[in-house]
Symmetry: C2
Subunit: 437 residues, 2 copies
Amino acid sequence: MNETHDPNRRSWVSSANTAETDFTIQNLPFAVFRRKNTSEIFRGGVAIGDQIVDLLQLDSKGILGGDAAQAAAEACKPQLNDFMNLGPRYWSALRLALSNLLKQGADSTGPFADCLQPQTEAEYHLPCQIGDFTDFYTSIYHATKVGKLFRPENPLLPNYKWVPIGYHGRASSFGVSGQDIHRPWGQTRAPDVTDPVFSPCKRVDFELELGAFIGSGNALGQPIAMGEAENHIFGLSLLNDWSARDIQAWEYQPLGPFLAKSFASTISPWIVTLEALAPYRAPFARDPQDPQPLPYLDSNQNSESGHIDINLQVYIQSEHMRQQQITPHKLSIAQFANSYWTLAQLVAHHTSNGCNLNTGDILGTGTQSGPSEEESGAMIEITKGKIPISLPSGEERVFLEDGDTIIFKGFCEKAGFSRIGFGECSGTILPAISPDH
Amino acid sequence: MNETHDPNRRSWVSSANTAETDFTIQNLPFAVFRRKNTSEIFRGGVAIGDQIVDLLQLDSKGILGGDAAQAAAEACKPQLNDFMNLGPRYWSALRLALSNLLKQGADSTGPFADCLQPQTEAEYHLPCQIGDFTDFYTSIYHATKVGKLFRPENPLLPNYKWVPIGYHGRASSFGVSGQDIHRPWGQTRAPDVTDPVFSPCKRVDFELELGAFIGSGNALGQPIAMGEAENHIFGLSLLNDWSARDIQAWEYQPLGPFLAKSFASTISPWIVTLEALAPYRAPFARDPQDPQPLPYLDSNQNSESGHIDINLQVYIQSEHMRQQQITPHKLSIAQFANSYWTLAQLVAHHTSNGCNLNTGDILGTGTQSGPSEEESGAMIEITKGKIPISLPSGEERVFLEDGDTIIFKGFCEKAGFSRIGFGECSGTILPAISPDH
């Protein structure tokens, strides 16, 4: 940790000093934005309180020098890939420079002050070009709870505690928070009939995840070792890997989920850097009965501070609730520190066969759940696919209905440290479109 | 069909008129190339006999007009994506213009003649930026033969004849023919022990496939109907989806193959356009006992000419054979006309949930096998994973060994029509690299 993590540091942007803000001066996450209802080009920005540091403006002022200037020249582009590819030295230099420009006591009336834009006037774009998307399955609680629905006698498969299970996902259908998602059509087969039908999905679900963005990648054939793995991770955002459970059940044997997942994935606009999360590193106490990780997935760092203690929350607001001005209802919570595998293990495992990761690739953590009932990162866990829950509007839900908005929030908090928040990841289910056939 | 398919058309490039050439004037496939051992920029090219039409040269000559000129201006770039995104009208215009420039009787001494480069002096690059890679499972013979190894009593799963089964693959690790592939490391577990080990893969395999390149894509949420599907396919190349069978067996439950596939996929440099393949369209006689495709996967075109009759061949040359100057040995054959699903069905199914395809995406056909023993598109089918085959050098193989080169060939031939060939897709297995741990 360094001076950018100092909990006593405050900003002259007063909204960054409140107890509830996600965007303290210790956070400084990156996004790509422009002013709403304009045809301005999208460019990189950094959140501070309720404002955004416009990096294109900043770059043009010539205020920065050295590595920070070089970093800003890349981070002000319409996609963050070139900046993310620079590596930790440059990410840190820009973070430190911004922290010093924004801290209380720094000049709040000079040219840098012109670089601030209010978040209320901004719209966001995907932060980078996403090459490949890999989705893991890191929550042993999720794997066990979902496994029980399909295999009550044998919920957890024998490979789970050895292999960070993952699969290739669809990169093209990512959208940024605020995405509208049409209910997908698909093939499904009811349990009591022989022939499937093609119809709108009846079991649309969310999946509460984090997405880790790859900063600099590796060459094909050159694995990344555990000790180097975190240097390749730029940061994290919230990720909703929307799922169609009825399509999934019919299609997934033997090659895994396909159209049940590829209709949409939504991420929050802000990428919180791994450096910002340093105060919230956490150990994981693997059950002593469990096998130790194989050497290529092991390191001291893994057990001592391999995890990150991030609180995750899911809210729902139905169309009816919106009309009645009923605020979003908390559906579920989870803690990323409960993940069975660390981000470093995901990178080391993914590249262990020589597979190359590229800048902008996303590694999803998979649905995050916990040991208790309320820690359930998907409707299929909350309702078991059949037991309805009640909303404050009096409506009931087993899966998502048209007009439902799902909102994820994420934040780190502990005594003596500043809050680090992720902002929101929201998306709304719209009615199915009738295909042209 | 049009004048470019006329079997009587010959070229003034005499090597294009031989019986054995893959690159007749009726073919005209696209690649990205430069002269070997130079730092020239890569650019688009079209094969004719043993020559390449250098599209960058052609574009600079100002010979073409109209749609063909516009197409060539995009096709001469270092990646073909912008050309592929133009759609069938422009692809056809450039094909027709090239056919007319290359036909017997056209001017073989003017400025166009300067645009030819010998293939022997060329090196190739991936033809386009590949966004997402989806691999299907279209051979019912492959699905049945492999299914028998795992589930002798129930080889074909109930969804197979309804759903064009597919899964998301890894796009980053594609390489072009001539690729060297280090044997991957990975977790495997022997049948008779509890704990897995991390070691070099013992069961490296090839998979004989074709890859279909998406030309213009679709917007998220907007499915492509069967009748429109082929307008979105630019063309086909040979595809080897290298596989690590022992890694696959341990990792693939419940989310499908992951590291068993992501270490490398190899394609042939030339993309043969769908238009060139028009004379080789074929019907598919679905077993009358089988269910008819659901309406979103059905069309008259599907049954009458939905398939393409492409002959596929696999050759192996071991290190020892190379040293002894023993030519590559034919391992296997297959016919793409035996595929259970058509390319149009793959596109319609993939987008039926609203998933967006992008220019440069690859849809793999999955391993192509046939009803007979010799039509087996992977070592695991040929040897059942245990019965060795003999090579002409006296060596035996169950799976691939270090130094083995696998070569795919593909071609269309029938009486009264010109041969359309795919060139070669080759790759060599190198020893495993020891990772830094």
